[in-house]
Symmetry: C2
Subunit: 191 residues, 2 copies
DNA sequence: GTCTATACACCGATAGAC
DNA sequence: GTCTATCGGTGTATAGAC
């Protein structure tokens, strides 16, 4: 259509994110997006051919920003610590749940999600491989296994926190902290 | 309203599950449910006062069945192995994604989900505590931490498998197998 | 780039007959 | 217990003026 990257374009994606987070994908409609930025519904279809396009583009912009944060953390002095910080402070868990649900039935979105998972995991594996080189005593699990454990736990902890469950969180966070301290003994920090 | 537990009642919950799994909560409508079991839309409102009630009841029935499986596994000869089997072969990950998304904005469902998480975790902790008694060398992580790791990983692996991602799965499954073998050295099995 | 107006489908929920 | 019929509301998407 026209003008990806313009002010209205970004405003629509911003609204889409907020609606997804606060009201769920069932509420992500062209009318609702338009209402959020005080324009008429018709304009949404000027920027996005279908609502499907809007959803895919919303995830795409979000995932590119997230990968940027991960690459920045990878290049830092304490990659493991900073990558974990990015994972545990990533986008709202409710919004992630919505994208997951959508990805199961939207093939274009699914491909974007798969791309994101694979790229982010590659960054994590790179950091873990470098940190664990010559330290076989820290973990017998391969870097790829540790990476999936990290993302999986970060997501579960965020989600349960949002639901109001806390059982076992302290234990897991302590274990992760110990692991990072052993693999990357540079400075001390709080989780 | 009337007759919870009757044939039509169960048929409606069965349909609701299938629709959630295959089409998402956006498609879970009274008309769609009625269509699936060849009755008219009006009948759904005879069994469930609102669509909200139908959703909550669908999760409730499912979670009670799941807890029953977990309790059965706990009472078996190899509790850790069997509980893990239940976790990794639980309800379809797409359906779980839908319930998660719904629970973030439906307070009655949220309470049911919290109850399920806490009860299932208690069962897992019980099994882990018993298995690890006097075996401090197997893991330094407390049982509650190990429980959240297990559920978290089972869900992530199922979800990624459904999406078509495999990176690191083999490593994680091997690690879990090793852990169970060390904590519960009874018989050998495949994961 | 932003608007008015509209076609057409589907939603939740209810009234009331049999 | 199951049906027909219907209300008011909201959804995607498009035509076309300014």
């Amino acid at each position: 259509m026209a003008t990806p990257g313009s002010a209205s374009w970004h405003a629509m994606l911003d609204s889409a994110q907020l609606i997804l987070r606060d009201e769920g994908y069932g509420a992500l409609t062209s009318r609702r997006v338009a209402e959020c930025i005080n324009v008429k519904q018709r304009l949404v279809y000027y920027y996005f051919k279908t609502m499907d396009d809007l959803i895919v583009e919303t995830f795409r912009r979000l995932s590119l920003r997230e990968l940027e944060r991960l690459r920045h953390a990878l290049a830092s002095k304490a990659p493991l610590r900073h990558i974990w910080d990015v994972c545990i402070h990533t986008s709202d868990s409710r919004m992630i749940s919505e994208f997951m649900a959508l990805a199961n039935r939207n093939d274009r979105l699914r491909k974007e999600v798969v791309r994101f998972i694979e790229e982010s995991r590659a960054i994590q594996v790179k950091a873990l491989r470098a940190a664990l080189e010559g330290k076989s005593s820290v973990s017998r699990i391969a870097p790829a296994g540790l990476a999936i454990m990290a993302t999986s736990l970060a997501l579960s902890i965020m989600r349960e926190k949002a639901l109001g469950v806390n059982t076992g969180h302290r234990d897991v966070l302590a274990a992760i902290n110990d692991f990072i301290a052993a693999a990357e003994p540079a400075k001390r920090a709080r989780t």
